[in-house]
Symmetry: C2
Subunit: 156 residues, 2 copies
Amino acid sequence: MAVISSITIRRARRGDVGVIVKMLADDPLGSARERIEDPLPPSYFRAFEAVEDDPNIQLVVAEDADGAVVGCLQLCVLPGLSSQGASRGLIEDVRVATHCRSRGIGEQLVQWAIAEARARSCKLVELLTHHTRVDAQRFYRRLGFQPSHVGMTLRF
Amino acid sequence: MAVISSITIRRARRGDVGVIVKMLADDPLGSARERIEDPLPPSYFRAFEAVEDDPNIQLVVAEDADGAVVGCLQLCVLPGLSSQGASRGLIEDVRVATHCRSRGIGEQLVQWAIAEARARSCKLVELLTHHTRVDAQRFYRRLGFQPSHVGMTLRF
């Protein structure tokens, strides 16, 4: 039987930036993109402040029963004219710490984001997942997402 | 030889909402989602105000030499921790009026968005395009985008 971890989802704080960046880096795609140094490059903290200042963006973390941060997710609620002026939710940067996977933490994070997007009157939640992340695609399908779109990227 | 329309790209104004919504609706996928009425449902104007109030979102239109609005695009610049705290640009709601297609208007709009995202220090521009929009995918590939991701959506 699957063990479901009991977590608390809360807004990320400045003190969480280090552990969030570690989770972003702990991944075949992310490891090449991040810089884990002590102290962390200040660009991470500037980005955290920009996220905090934006009322349409919520960076949240999953905290386990011991108060350790074991997952993260960023939700952007984006207004726009299409679909009769409905906002849409964009989910980004979903990560669960390696040693805590398969315990329902990612699912609780994504379900939180879906509920929050609904509460903020979105009619759609969307996300991009790398085409090689087949497990992630299966996970999102199980939560009701459809692979309806091609996610196209241009990296500078 | 292709005719390239000379256009001006400018921020959308409240008076443009009607023509933007018509372009959003003039499309097999969009027609079922929009409500073209006179007057337009107020939800469109509320969404326009939310877009205008958000410093990270720019809804722009392409105006032809006669001052007619013939295209639109929305660019969101989203801060986030990943990729060393680089913002990313999200392109949405790209439309060109039916009678003005194949004149380079969409390309000029997307190139504007790429340049703007770069100017705002993004390291990545991303977008979702419906899997049935094969022409759109070819168009974005030509502009340098890769179909690297699966775009997953959950519609309420």
